[in-house]
Amino acid sequence: MTIVTGKAEARRRLQSGRSGVLWKMWEHRADYAYVLPAIAVMLIVIAYPIYYTIELSFFKTPPGLQLRDKIYVGFDNYTNILTSPVFWKVTWNTMIWTLASTFISFVLGFGSALALHRDFIGRGVLRAILIIPWVISAVAASYIWKWIYHSDFGVIGAVLVGLGLADRPPNFIDNVSTVLPSLIVVNIWREFPFAMIMMMAGLQTVPEQLLSAAKVDGASAWQRFWHVTFPHLSSVSTVTILLLAVANFNSFIIPWIMTGGGPSNASHIWITHIYELAFGRQLWGVASAYSVLLFLILMTLGYFYVRALSGNERKEGSA
């Protein structure tokens, strides 16, 4: 009779577990071979640039020198960024831009999805119309909005002056106080259809039987929404919000085309400021340090995104 101690059993299980993993990997060797080219490409186009950006963030790159003649400055770029008032102004802008755009786009998108989920005449047409802002080119939309907002002969200004509601056209994008909210409006206009589509897809998964049962049990419309619909949409909501947040952090086209970050840096967000530092001012080192900071934030968001997705999978798996 063999006596197996708890310790020995644990070791045995671990070893068999390890060999099991290796065996599984061997069994799936063809699958790994299939994804190997993709991994190799990712290493070249993602991993190397990340490494190079981190490396560059420790160097100074004066305009009179080539990049290869860069000067090592340690953490100076990070110190300069974090002690620069412009950085904090741009960070504040980025937070407002991201939070306001994400939150309002989501709320509007969710509301539209709920409205369009109901059956009524013209629903298809309305759906198509509401998706337009999302499908048209961001560049074209930016130019159009620039003319709509134009401080001297914009459409809004002309209408307001024409109706006698204003003496002169309102100043939307040439004013440090109004420029960021004005750009956020454009961003929301462009993004809310994305949230709408995501939430409409989510609404399709809410079981009709549950809603009918709740109705039979006397639940009000709000109670049916809050206790049945909303819990079913929590996962898709999380993913939508995270995707919107990441997209907004990286949003470049609208602020760059409409204002170039101005006036007086009032509409610069991180990504446009990084672009200006790198390509306008050739401060590659400072821009790289900025990018590293942005990368860390986005990776954190990415982590939560993956966790949210995994949570969904687990829920679906256990269902």
């Binding site: 009179g64 002969f153 440090v176 006036p263 007086s264 200006e276």
Partner: protein
Amino acid sequence: MTRITLGGAVLRGTVSAALVVSLMSASALGAPPVDLSKWSPEYVRSIAGTQDFDTAADCGKVTPLDYKGRLTFWYQGVFEGDPDLLRQYYKEFFETFRKTYPNIQLEEQALTYNDLLDKFRTALLGNAAPMAVRLQILGGTEFAAKGYLQPLKPEDVGYSTEDFWPGAMKAVTWDGVTYGIPTNNETMAFIWNADIFKRAGLDPDKAPATWDDVVKYSKQIHDKLGISGYGLVARKNAGNTPYRFMPQLWAYGGGVFDEATANPTYKEVELNSPQSKAALQASYDMYVRDKSVPVSALTNQQADNQPLFLAGQLGMMVSHPSDYNVMLDLQKKATGTDKDKAQTVIDNMRYGLIPTGPDGKRAVVFGGSNIHILKPEYVEGGKVDEPAAKAIICMWTSPEWSLKMAYAGSNPGNLNGFKTKWMKERLDSIKFLDVTTSMLPYGIPFPALPQSPEIMNIIVPDMLQNALTGAMTVDQAADDAAEKVKSLVEGKL
């Protein structure tokens, strides 16, 4: 039909010998093909059409016409603010080049003024630059200082250094070596709408004499007619901003450094001098105090002022001679009553010299473009086809093409261009050309420093925006900008 109204201003604008000399570097004091000391509208007319040139034959001596090769070439091309006439000449140039050199495989790429520097810098970082490039005047020094460009002087393509404006040669010289050849050189002029002047109670045929007058006129136009007086431009990262603000800055006696002097050293930063602050104050007075300029000045560029001017909603602006042709192009596209309104504006369009500062100093940016050849190690494929590059450079900088490619908006880089029959034709067909050629002797080149693009495209517009938005006072904005320039030049950033 519009009559050219030069008046006393143009007479006073004939050669200022001191300023002409200021444009001359010691090396260029040779025998130019035209007499710069006689420069005046009359002189320009007298030399136009006096000499014939055979471009193909001249360039054939540099690169044989049957030469077989391949050339990649980027250039600052025509954009939305340029007249159709210029578009036509650009098209013709490349067609002619292909006919003249049928065995050179030319791969050209046009980029706008604002995009070219960014794209070119990025390409250089990846050793993917073109073999030859035509850059704005502001860019040459930066890339020469970084060692990206091959030495290239007019003699390498069959011309003489004296064939080009001495001030323009400064912009392609770094550390005593020449790295490029000017293709065109331009100076802007002052444009106003005589009808608006008349309705505002101003003399319709007289341009404001000083920048202080511009401030006064702008206010008077705005107060009486409710429209914008002067077309201020203060967008960041747009070439239009320094081209319009620097003449004002220099006229008041200010500058970024001492670039407006005869022998600049670029040692002391003068952006926060009392004179520079006075120039900034003038912009502040127009934008903030009087609200007499377009509100959109902070996000717009000159291309946005053009339709405003054509619509009769803008009284004055600083621009190229080409703006007359641009107005004609825009007028053709107008419909209904807008067409007639536009024609009225065109009929009332007047050109004059750019106003002076309080001390009578007149200045304008000596603008233009240069053409360069890259070093092979920075070029895609690691090879430069020098004969092919020299062939296109010879053609573009020839008297014929340096004039045609600048037909409506600029002036030939090659001074011999002024002697061609096309110059004569141009003087007859392009209105107000006399005025802009009269401004040439007042031209001041941007500082020949690698930091110039950042100073002109970022720091100076930032200074304007900081003052005009109230983010800083005029003093603070000037001090902040001066500090940024100092840090940049000292390599602190």
